[in-house]
Amino acid sequence: MSLSTANGSAVRLEGVHKSFGKLEVLKGIDLAVAEHEVICLIGASGSGKSTLLRCVNLIEPVDAGRIVVHREEITAVGVDVNRIRRSIGIVFQSFNLFPHMTVLRNITLAPQKALKLSKAEAEARAIELLERFGLADKRNEYPDRLSGGQQQRAAIVRALAMQPDIMLLDEVTSALDPELVAEVLNVIRELAAGGMTMLIATHEMGFARDIASRVCFLDAGVILEEGPPAQIFSAPREARTQRFLQSIIEAGRM
């Protein structure tokens, strides 16, 4: 259902503001994501990365500014949010699989209910994806019988089963034991190789350097600095970016 966007952006944020009570989390975000681009959002906790992604998926309504997806303003009044969300997948730090459903049911629920696929079509689609990501033998398990890495891969498959144009990944490896991070990152690499447009909030700097077409450093609710990963990681211009990256290096995470 991808629309032609020859000269448009897949996602464009213009002056997006978002507050929770008195706390202003996003203070005017401008960002254009081209088709097939992979943007990594880096920055300290509380810098607004997650909120930004949640706004793009309309989980959080924006207070000011607009978000345009494939030339349609999704933040306009009266937009069918369910239709918009069907084409924008999001994966959460804490997986948020449905604990009372098998892996297969987790994945087929939305295609059946929101896309009106038949059970057979939805299951065929789910099983194909599960096979691709090495989870076919887990399809009849309940989520809590799976490792964290398997759960997160299942959550990614659940989002992919809707065949979204855009994927939003919100610190998807932060809740995982270190030895389980790689299997999830490999899935994301495969998505990037397949041309998926992605917005990724992450603390995995090595991964961001590998995969990103562009890196944005968020600080206190604004994009302080953005550029190709080589430039951001090797020669950051802003003092705050330098300090942030320095602290990451000192923590041994890069």
Binding site: R54, N57, I59, V81, N82, R83, I84, R85, R86, G89, I90, F92, S94, F95, N96, L97, F98, P99, H100, L109, A110, K113, A114, L115, Y142, P143, D144, R145, G148, Q151, R158, A159, M162, A175
Partner: protein, 301 residues
């Protein structure tokens, strides 16, 4: 109980009554201390029980009036003569209970869902649910039974049943729905908002999310308190005795008391209620204990 620790982030999310639960050995908080103490503990427990019960019995029996009381309440011949009829009538209590319970579970869920609808548009619906719950929880059930069972039939409305038993059951349904809806509501509110966010982010509507994600998890979580209300309802079917001509167990017992000037039939009726309520209560305790064990034990795979 499994040892604590583990410190895992992704807690297993088994709920009571979940068929996936491994058959764990439920620990009873009554008997567990005995197991820990071994044979000596068991012997001590038996001795102390015998002494306590013996003292109590002696205290009661030595009363001057005991022969009279024994004759009035513990008359074996009277029991043998009246019990079968009370058992037969008790079927009616079970029938009332089962019919009422089905409607209570449905109506209460509707009320709970009405109350959990968000946003200003649904304000009147939320208020209706709150007013209903406040009204029916605020009035003694026995009063509602009286008001409906005697009030409605005397209106002589065309096409409306005028059987007091019918309206007594309706009264139980209305009253208990208010309590049970609060149980459901607690369950609905216990489902983490991230579950709703995940469902809505997939493009599922609010209704589909409620139907397939929130309610199934909520109901599983509140099965023990729901069973508690089952126990209470089963007992309260005796309230119907106050308003109906066709006797259920309690009414039958009262009739026999009046006929023979002997109170033993009441004990027979009490025994029958215990036969249902005690196993139900034990089941609730067992489910709650299992749930607690799962939480504390860290619930390994």
């Amino acid at each position: 109980m499994a040892s604590g620790g583990g410190g895992e982030i992704h807690r297993a999310q088994y709920l009571p009554g979940d068929p996936r639960l491994p058959e764990g050995r439920p620990t009873s908080r009554i008997l567990a201390p005995l197991r820990a103490e071994g044979a000596r503990g068991v012997a001590l427990a038996v001795m102390s029980t015998v002494v306590v019960l013996g003292l109590l019995a002696w205290f009661v029996v030595r009363s001057e009036n005991w022969p009279v009381v024994r004759e009035a309440f513990f008359n074996w011949t009277e029991f043998k003569d009246t019990f079968p009829e009370i058992v037969r009538r008790f079927g009616r209590n079970v029938q009332f209970f089962l019919i009422a319970e089905v409607f209570i579970l449905a109506l209460a869920l509707l009320l709970a869902v009405m109350r959990s609808l968000p946003g200003p548009v649904f304000f009147p619906i939320r208020v209706m649910s709150i007013v209903y719950t406040d009204l029916f929880r605020g009035v003694p059930t026995v009063l509602i039974v009286y008001l409906l069972a005697f009030g409605v039939p005397s209106l002589r409305l065309p096409g409306v049943p005028n059987d007091p038993a019918f309206w007594a059951v309706i009264a139980l349904i209305l009253s208990y729905s208010a309590y049970v809806s609060e149980v459901y509501r607690a369950g609905i509110e216990s489902v983490h908002p991230s579950q709703v966010a995940a469902a809505r982010s997939l493009g599922l509507t609010r209704w589909t999310t409620l139907r397939h994600v929130v309610i199934p998890q909520a109901v599983r979580r509140v099965i023990p308190p729901l069973l508690n209300d089952f126990v209470a309802l089963q007992k309260d079917t005796a309230l119907i005795a106050f308003v109906v001509a066709v006797p259920e167990a309690f009414k039958m017992a009262q009739i026999q008391v009046a006929a023979d000037f002997n109170y033993t039939p009441l004990l027979g009726a009490a025994l029958l209620f215990l036969l249902i309520t005690v196993p139900l209560t034990r089941t609730v305790d067992w489910l709650i204990g299992r749930e607690r064990g799962r939480r504390q034990g860290g619930g390994g795979l």
